[in-house]
């Protein structure tokens, strides 16, 4: 009996200390500028890497990289396909399949292709593949055509040189080319009908897909004849699709997995002290945002003063600290962490006080405002919704949170035009250039948000100006004005960035991990990963 009592007291003490412990965001010191970890080049090559990720590619559009519109597809396809340029640490644009490029004018790019690059079937890649791939992308229904920008023409100068001409200056062009949908495809085979990219993956990348069972497993094998010497290092990469977060954490702990992508913002704490396991919080440019439906029943958010009041009440610092355990960062529409991104603390809404919000509500006759916030159930979205609810209570706005599975959420938000929901929470991929995601603030072009967002000519002009602003001192100014315009519009309100946690067993793998990721691709340098003997 005494022993049971002792155990109970000890358990209570442990629980008590756990409850009292403050939440401290783990800090990770980069090992090099822009990098949290660098694969050990001295480790011997070879071996099989066991990876776990939460979801598989959305296969309704098949395996065609040009139709891939979610980060997990970009990530998996990047093992097989390659782009002309790639994103380096700190969002530097680095050579990929193009060894160099020139910009003779603000609307002209000339790419010089790498020698010795072949597709996995052995055929050398040439300028016709690059031209054909870009033309196919621009003519196709894929969303990335919008991000690649106003391309007027693509032409092969010779077998190893490609010239791209834009209609107007578009600064994110190279960053957009660095994402998987802009990969170079085997156009000769596609044109001949011998390869259907929707079902067959044939790229120039370091791996070939040996096996895929939807939602279960991918097996990638090292590709002989890859253009980079001594790469890839690993013989095979086995990617298991493991939706359950706790299972991925458990798999890391008991050595069932070498490397896992984790969405739980508490994962660093959960894995702290587990021998051999490293949990690195990776910043991303993805960010949560609040949608206020301009067509909401009763016209709740049709008055810009109401939307502005809601925006003022948002405490982004609190959302980041509480809902994302300090791993997220407050952001404006230019994702925090990207070069030239605006300072969210300087946004008009951030510099106004709550009295101003209350005054705006009173002016708009909305002092008794209440609405339903529709959120999906994937963590940490419910926690973000709860902090929003608390933020708005400070100005007397009552929020009911409606938590739905992702399918029902998509139906509620995108299923009707005009949309019938009040407000909703979602997140955007933030991409690799500070201006890119702002394209979605042009509903007449984006289309997906036309049901709940009214076009605004001033906002559209601010987006276009920012996208055209050349690198230099003028660009931060244009981006700052873009941030302010989005903030004033307040139909889609950027909140905080959405972090991921990269977990791996240091006794099993030596990976390269970027400090900040723009395309959700934690496997960006998978060809460098070294598998270690345990």
């Amino acid at each position: 009996m005494r022993r049971i009592g002792t155990v109970l007291v000890a358990a209570a003490a442990v629980l008590g200390s756990a409850c009292a412990a403050p939440v401290v965001a783990p800090t990770v010191t980069p090992v090099a500028p822009g990098l949290l970890a660098i694969a050990d080049p001295a480790a011997p090559p070879g071996g099989v890497l066991e990876l776990q990720i939460p979801i598989d590619t959305g296969a309704a559009s098949g395996l065609d990289p040009q139709l891939a519109d979610v980060a997990v597809s970009w990530q998996l396809m990047s093992l097989v396909y390659e782009t002309l340029v790639v994103i380096g640490p700190g969002f530097r644009i680095e050579p990929g399949l193009a060894v160099s490029w020139e910009t003779p004018s603000p609307t002209e790019y000339v790419f010089h292709l790498r020698e010795g690059v072949t597709f996995a079937n052995g055929r050398p890649m040439d300028a016709a593949d690059v031209v054909g791939s870009l033309e196919r992308l621009l003519a196709g229904p894929g969303v990335w055509a919008t991000q690649v920008g106003p391309v007027a023409s693509v032409a092969a100068v010779d077998d190893r040189t490609v010239r791209v001409v834009l209609d107007r200056p578009y600064t994110p062009f190279l960053a957009a080319l660095a994402n998987t949908p802009a990969a170079v495809l085997p156009m000769r085979e596609i044109a001949a009908g011998t390869v259907d990219p929707a079902t067959t993956m044939l790229g120039t990348g370091p791996f070939v897909a040996e096996f895929h069972r939807q939602d279960v497993l991918w097996r990638f094998a090292r590709r002989p004849g890859y253009w980079a010497p001594a790469r890839p290092a690993a013989d095979k990469i086995i990617v298991s699709i493991v939706p359950q977060e706790s299972t991925r954490i458990a798999a890391l702990q008991n050595q069932s997995a070498d490397f896992a992508v984790l969405g739980n913002v508490d994962a660093p704490q959960l894995l702290a002290g587990v021998r051999g396991v490293v949990a690195l919080p990776q910043a991303t440019t993805d960010f949560y945002y609040l949608m206020l439906n301009n067509n909401a029943p009763g016209g709740k958010f049709a008055d810009p003063r109401v939307r502005t009041a809601v925006n003022i009440a948002m405490d982004r610092t609190q959302i980041a600290a509480v809902a994302t355990a300090g791993l997220g960062t407050p952001t404006g529409v230019t994702p925090a962490g990207l070069p030239d991104a605006c300072d969210p603390a300087a946004l008009p809404s951030a510099t106004a006080d709550l009295d101003e919000a209350r005054r705006l509500l009173a002016e708009a006759g909305a002092t008794d405002l209440s609405f339903t916030l529709t959120a999906f159930s994937t963590e940490p979205a419910p926690a973000v919704a709860q902090v929003i609810q608390q933020n708005l209570a400070r100005i007397g706005v009552r929020v009911t949170i409606q938590q739905l599975d992702e399918g029902s959420w998509a139906g509620a938000v995108y299923g009707e035009v005009p949309a019938r929901f009040d407000a909703a929470l979602s997140w955007f991929a933030g991409y690799a250039d500070a201006g890119m995601v702002a394209q979605w603030w042009k509903p007449e072009q984006a289309q997906f948000n036309i049901g709940f967002m009214a076009p605004d000519a001033g906002l559209t002009a601010a987006v276009d100006t920012a996208l055209a602003a050349p690198e230099g001192p003028g660009r931060p100014v244009a981006l700052r004005e873009l941030c302010a315009a989005v903030d004033r519009d307040a139909q889609m309100i950027p909140l905080v960035t959405r972090p991921v946690v990269v977990g791996y067993r240091a006794d099993a793998v030596s990976p390269t991990v970027f400090a900040t990721e723009g395309y959700g691709n934690v496997l960006r340098r998978a060809a460098d990963f070294r598998v270690l003997g345990r």
């Binding site: 309704a60 939807q214 458990a250 798999a251 702990q253 008991n254 998509a410 509620a412």
Partner: protein, 320 residues
């Protein structure tokens, strides 16, 4: 002749049940908010892309017409095409069925090999400490939900692996050792409940038989306890045990969703649940219909076996 009539009635009843299930699941899948095109193609899909996908899978037709076409296809043995993978649903199920069957076999085998003897022992020693311990263990086994036990096992074995894996399922035909290492823990979680239910049912059935006069007579004749148990008790206590084992089998074949989810086993249950999330209608409809069919068919077989095991009930059934 009476037997033929009995079977005809059972088959008609099964067909009516399955028809009702098909209507319910079809209606439920269409009433779920968020259509396939919105969920899977995502917000960036153009109306043209959505329309193309809808037309490809017949989602642009009227609901009644869709149901009629689906039912006609099912009756021809065609369960439809997964809208996610583009593969026939039958193929997708066959790919996942080995996992479910393996789990089911292990769970049912544990129930039969451990649960039945345990139930007999606790019944025979009902007054002793062994009986009390057996009752307690059975009570715990029945009371602890799978998600609690499964989460506990995941937690414990994440710290103390003992060579067993979590979340890294390998098919039996690929690597026997790796397969067993990945399936032992989920099978044990399932077996915990199955053993407990079987042991309790066996115990109750055996205790009911032990007070029968023919057992007293056998004891008076001087038959050995082993002979009494094997010859008299087991045969007469077998029916409820058979029913519970059948129910467990049907339940597990329908997909042990929680265990598959917790341990990331690519079985039928987790596949159907994922299909619900992505509005992969053909998979959801086929999964629910097949699970119902398994229940119906196994129940019919148990009814038939009942007549063999206990001719009195068989005659009663025929008389009805």
């Amino acid at each position: 002749m009476r037997l033929i009539g009995w079977w005809a009635r059972r088959v008609a009843s099964a067909a009516a049940t399955l028809t009702l299930v098909s209507i319910l699941i079809f209606a439920a899948s269409r009433l779920m908010p968020g259509g396939f095109a919105e969920v899977v193609l995502g917000p960036f899909a153009t109306p043209e892309q959505q329309a193309e996908v809808s037309a490809r899978y017949g989602l642009d037709r009227g609901v009644v017409e869709q149901y009629g076409l689906w039912l006609a296809a099912v009756l021809r043995g065609d369960l439809g095409t997964s809208m996610i993978s583009g593969e026939p649903v039958t193929v997708e199920f066959l790919l996942r069925m080995p996992v479910t069957v393996e789990l089911t076999l292990l769970g049912v085998a544990a129930a039969a090999v451990i649960g039945v003897p345990l139930g007999i022992v606790t019944a025979v020693r009902a007054g002793g400490r062994g009986g009390a311990a057996g009752r307690l263990a059975g009570g715990i086994g029945v009371s602890v939900p799978e998600f609690v036990l499964g989460s506990l096992v995941v937690f414990v074995f994440s710290r103390f692996a003992l060579g067993l894996t979590i979340g890294g399922y390998r098919p039996l035909d690929e690597d026997v050792g790796a397969n067993l290492r990945s399936i032992v823990l989920p099978a044990a979680v399932l077996a915990f409940f199955a053993v407990a239910v079987t042991a309790r049912t066996t115990r109750d059935a055996v205790m009911g038989v032990l007070v029968e006069p023919y057992i007293t007579a056998a004891v008076a004749r001087g038959d050995s306890p082993f002979t009494i148990v094997v010859r008299h008790v087991l045969r007469n206590a077998a029916m409820p045990v058979l029913v519970v084992l059948t129910t467990i089998t049907a339940y597990l074949l329908g997909g042990a969703v929680i265990v598959e989810y917790l341990f990331n086993l690519p079985g039928v249950g987790s596949y159907v649940v994922a299909a619900v999330g992505r509005r992969d209608y053909a998979v959801v409809q086929a999964g629910v219909l097949l699970a119902a069919a398994v229940f119906v068919v196994l129940n019919m077989l148990v009814d038939a076996a009942t007549g063999v095991l206990d001719p009195r009930l068989g005659s009663a059934g025929e008389a009805r």
